[in-house]
Subunit: 113 residues, 2 copies
Protein backbone atom coordinates (compact mmCIF):
# COMPACT_ATOMS: atom_id res chain seq x y z
CA UNK A 1 0.00 0.00 0.00
CA UNK A 2 1.40 3.37 -1.02
CA UNK A 3 0.36 6.15 1.38
CA UNK A 4 1.67 9.71 1.02
CA UNK A 5 0.38 13.26 1.30
CA UNK A 6 0.18 14.77 -2.17
CA UNK A 7 2.62 17.52 -1.22
CA UNK A 8 5.28 14.85 -0.58
CA UNK A 9 5.23 13.83 -4.25
CA UNK A 10 7.83 15.53 -6.45
CA UNK A 11 6.68 18.69 -8.23
CA UNK A 12 7.90 18.51 -11.85
CA UNK A 13 7.78 20.73 -14.91
CA UNK A 14 5.67 19.06 -17.61
CA UNK A 15 7.32 18.56 -20.98
CA UNK A 16 4.33 19.52 -23.15
CA UNK A 17 4.37 22.45 -25.55
CA UNK A 18 1.73 25.19 -25.24
CA UNK A 19 1.57 25.31 -21.45
CA UNK A 20 2.08 28.25 -19.07
CA UNK A 21 2.92 28.27 -15.35
CA UNK A 22 2.05 24.64 -14.61
CA UNK A 23 3.68 22.05 -12.42
CA UNK A 24 2.71 18.37 -12.16
CA UNK A 25 2.89 15.72 -9.42
CA UNK A 26 2.58 12.08 -10.55
CA UNK A 27 0.66 10.90 -7.47
CA UNK A 28 0.17 7.30 -8.67
CA UNK A 29 1.94 5.85 -11.71
CA UNK A 30 3.64 2.77 -13.11
CA UNK A 31 6.45 3.34 -10.59
CA UNK A 32 3.92 2.40 -7.89
CA UNK A 33 2.69 -0.67 -9.76
CA UNK A 34 -0.34 1.04 -11.31
CA UNK A 35 -0.89 -0.78 -14.60
CA UNK A 36 -4.28 0.52 -15.72
CA UNK A 37 -4.34 4.28 -15.07
CA UNK A 38 -2.32 7.11 -13.49
CA UNK A 39 -3.32 9.87 -11.07
CA UNK A 40 -1.64 13.26 -11.56
CA UNK A 41 -2.15 16.60 -9.81
CA UNK A 42 -1.63 19.82 -11.75
CA UNK A 43 -0.84 23.06 -9.94
CA UNK A 44 -1.61 26.00 -12.21
CA UNK A 45 -0.62 29.56 -11.28
CA UNK A 46 -2.91 32.54 -11.97
CA UNK A 47 -2.97 33.10 -15.77
CA UNK A 48 -1.45 29.66 -16.34
CA UNK A 49 -3.01 27.03 -18.61
CA UNK A 50 -2.74 23.53 -20.03
CA UNK A 51 -2.35 23.16 -23.82
CA UNK A 52 -5.36 23.50 -26.09
CA UNK A 53 -5.12 20.03 -27.57
CA UNK A 54 -6.76 16.70 -28.35
CA UNK A 55 -5.50 13.11 -28.07
CA UNK A 56 -6.76 9.56 -28.38
CA UNK A 57 -7.22 8.94 -24.66
CA UNK A 58 -9.67 10.23 -22.08
CA UNK A 59 -9.28 12.39 -18.95
CA UNK A 60 -11.13 11.98 -15.65
CA UNK A 61 -10.78 15.23 -13.73
CA UNK A 62 -11.70 16.56 -10.28
CA UNK A 63 -11.16 20.25 -9.42
CA UNK A 64 -9.47 20.15 -6.03
CA UNK A 65 -8.90 23.88 -5.39
CA UNK A 66 -9.57 27.13 -7.19
CA UNK A 67 -11.49 28.39 -10.18
CA UNK A 68 -10.89 28.54 -13.88
CA UNK A 69 -12.26 28.04 -17.36
CA UNK A 70 -12.34 25.07 -19.70
CA UNK A 71 -12.03 25.85 -23.41
CA UNK A 72 -12.38 24.07 -26.70
CA UNK A 73 -11.68 25.67 -30.10
CA UNK A 74 -14.75 27.89 -30.03
CA UNK A 75 -16.12 28.25 -26.49
CA UNK A 76 -15.23 28.76 -22.85
CA UNK A 77 -17.06 27.68 -19.69
CA UNK A 78 -16.12 28.48 -16.09
CA UNK A 79 -15.58 25.86 -13.38
CA UNK A 80 -15.08 25.78 -9.62
CA UNK A 81 -13.84 23.60 -6.76
CA UNK A 82 -15.63 20.25 -6.67
CA UNK A 83 -16.41 20.18 -10.39
CA UNK A 84 -15.90 16.91 -12.29
CA UNK A 85 -15.03 16.48 -15.98
CA UNK A 86 -14.99 13.53 -18.31
CA UNK A 87 -13.08 14.47 -21.47
CA UNK A 88 -13.59 11.82 -24.14
CA UNK A 89 -10.92 10.65 -26.54
CA UNK A 90 -10.28 13.25 -29.30
CA UNK A 91 -12.24 16.05 -27.59
CA UNK A 92 -10.43 19.40 -27.72
CA UNK A 93 -9.76 20.85 -24.25
CA UNK A 94 -7.74 23.41 -22.32
CA UNK A 95 -7.87 24.20 -18.60
CA UNK A 96 -6.95 27.76 -17.59
CA UNK A 97 -6.63 29.49 -14.25
CA UNK A 98 -8.75 32.64 -14.58
CA UNK A 99 -8.52 33.54 -10.88
CA UNK A 100 -5.83 35.16 -8.72
CA UNK A 101 -5.26 32.02 -6.61
CA UNK A 102 -3.61 28.67 -7.32
CA UNK A 103 -5.69 26.14 -9.27
CA UNK A 104 -5.21 22.47 -8.36
CA UNK A 105 -6.63 19.75 -10.62
CA UNK A 106 -6.60 15.97 -10.19
CA UNK A 107 -6.38 14.42 -13.67
CA UNK A 108 -6.34 10.69 -14.44
CA UNK A 109 -5.28 9.04 -17.68
CA UNK A 110 -5.35 5.43 -18.85
CA UNK A 111 -2.26 3.38 -19.58
CA UNK A 112 -2.73 2.04 -23.08
CA UNK A 113 -2.55 -1.72 -23.47
CA UNK B 1 -17.52 16.62 -22.31
CA UNK B 2 -19.30 15.80 -19.08
CA UNK B 3 -19.15 18.68 -16.57
CA UNK B 4 -20.99 18.55 -13.23
CA UNK B 5 -20.39 19.50 -9.63
CA UNK B 6 -19.93 16.34 -7.58
CA UNK B 7 -22.95 17.20 -5.41
CA UNK B 8 -25.15 17.01 -8.52
CA UNK B 9 -24.37 13.31 -8.95
CA UNK B 10 -26.87 10.91 -7.36
CA UNK B 11 -26.04 9.78 -3.82
CA UNK B 12 -26.63 6.03 -3.62
CA UNK B 13 -26.44 3.33 -0.96
CA UNK B 14 -23.67 0.86 -1.85
CA UNK B 15 -24.68 -2.80 -2.07
CA UNK B 16 -21.62 -4.27 -0.33
CA UNK B 17 -21.83 -6.26 2.90
CA UNK B 18 -19.79 -5.14 5.93
CA UNK B 19 -20.23 -1.39 5.46
CA UNK B 20 -21.59 1.22 7.89
CA UNK B 21 -22.98 4.71 7.21
CA UNK B 22 -21.60 5.11 3.69
CA UNK B 23 -23.07 6.65 0.56
CA UNK B 24 -21.53 6.62 -2.92
CA UNK B 25 -21.64 8.92 -5.95
CA UNK B 26 -20.52 7.40 -9.28
CA UNK B 27 -18.93 10.61 -10.63
CA UNK B 28 -17.64 9.06 -13.89
CA UNK B 29 -18.64 5.60 -15.10
CA UNK B 30 -19.54 3.53 -18.15
CA UNK B 31 -22.76 5.58 -18.39
CA UNK B 32 -20.54 8.54 -19.36
CA UNK B 33 -18.53 6.54 -21.88
CA UNK B 34 -15.63 5.76 -19.51
CA UNK B 35 -14.28 2.42 -20.71
CA UNK B 36 -11.03 2.09 -18.73
CA UNK B 37 -11.75 3.22 -15.16
CA UNK B 38 -14.45 4.75 -12.95
CA UNK B 39 -14.32 7.65 -10.47
CA UNK B 40 -16.46 7.31 -7.36
CA UNK B 41 -16.83 9.53 -4.28
CA UNK B 42 -17.61 7.94 -0.91
CA UNK B 43 -19.23 9.98 1.85
CA UNK B 44 -18.64 8.27 5.19
CA UNK B 45 -20.37 9.45 8.37
CA UNK B 46 -18.56 9.57 11.74
CA UNK B 47 -18.03 5.95 12.89
CA UNK B 48 -18.80 4.68 9.38
CA UNK B 49 -16.50 2.41 7.40
CA UNK B 50 -15.92 0.52 4.15
CA UNK B 51 -15.67 -3.28 4.32
CA UNK B 52 -12.46 -4.94 5.47
CA UNK B 53 -11.87 -6.87 2.26
CA UNK B 54 -9.57 -7.76 -0.63
CA UNK B 55 -10.20 -8.16 -4.37
CA UNK B 56 -8.29 -8.69 -7.59
CA UNK B 57 -8.31 -5.05 -8.71
CA UNK B 58 -6.55 -1.94 -7.47
CA UNK B 59 -7.77 1.32 -5.91
CA UNK B 60 -6.39 4.80 -6.53
CA UNK B 61 -7.61 7.03 -3.69
CA UNK B 62 -7.47 10.73 -2.80
CA UNK B 63 -8.76 11.94 0.60
CA UNK B 64 -10.92 14.94 -0.28
CA UNK B 65 -12.22 15.92 3.17
CA UNK B 66 -11.85 14.70 6.73
CA UNK B 67 -9.74 12.28 8.70
CA UNK B 68 -9.81 8.58 9.34
CA UNK B 69 -7.86 5.37 9.59
CA UNK B 70 -6.91 2.71 7.08
CA UNK B 71 -6.79 -0.86 8.37
CA UNK B 72 -5.64 -4.25 7.19
CA UNK B 73 -6.10 -7.48 9.16
CA UNK B 74 -3.51 -6.60 11.80
CA UNK B 75 -2.76 -2.86 11.80
CA UNK B 76 -4.26 0.62 11.60
CA UNK B 77 -2.78 3.89 10.34
CA UNK B 78 -4.37 7.34 10.42
CA UNK B 79 -4.86 9.56 7.36
CA UNK B 80 -5.90 13.14 6.63
CA UNK B 81 -7.15 15.44 3.87
CA UNK B 82 -4.83 15.40 0.83
CA UNK B 83 -3.51 11.89 1.46
CA UNK B 84 -3.14 9.54 -1.50
CA UNK B 85 -3.34 5.73 -1.50
CA UNK B 86 -2.52 3.07 -4.04
CA UNK B 87 -4.05 -0.23 -2.90
CA UNK B 88 -2.68 -3.08 -5.00
CA UNK B 89 -4.73 -6.04 -6.17
CA UNK B 90 -5.38 -8.51 -3.30
CA UNK B 91 -4.22 -6.15 -0.54
CA UNK B 92 -6.55 -6.17 2.49
CA UNK B 93 -7.98 -2.71 3.26
CA UNK B 94 -10.69 -0.87 5.16
CA UNK B 95 -11.26 2.90 5.36
CA UNK B 96 -12.93 4.17 8.55
CA UNK B 97 -14.06 7.60 9.68
CA UNK B 98 -12.50 8.04 13.13
CA UNK B 99 -13.45 11.73 13.40
CA UNK B 100 -16.66 13.59 14.24
CA UNK B 101 -16.99 15.15 10.77
CA UNK B 102 -17.90 13.74 7.36
CA UNK B 103 -15.14 11.87 5.50
CA UNK B 104 -15.09 12.21 1.70
CA UNK B 105 -12.90 9.91 -0.39
CA UNK B 106 -12.34 9.85 -4.15
CA UNK B 107 -11.75 6.21 -5.17
CA UNK B 108 -11.02 4.99 -8.70
CA UNK B 109 -11.27 1.44 -9.96
CA UNK B 110 -10.40 -0.16 -13.31
CA UNK B 111 -12.94 -1.67 -15.65
CA UNK B 112 -11.71 -5.19 -16.34
CA UNK B 113 -11.17 -6.10 -19.97
Amino acid sequence: MKHVHYTEVELEIPKEQGIKDIMIRWLISKKDGAENFAMRLFEIQPEGYTPLHQHDWEHEIFILEGNGAVRDKTSEKSFKQGDVFFISSMEWHQFANTSNKMLKIICLIPYKK
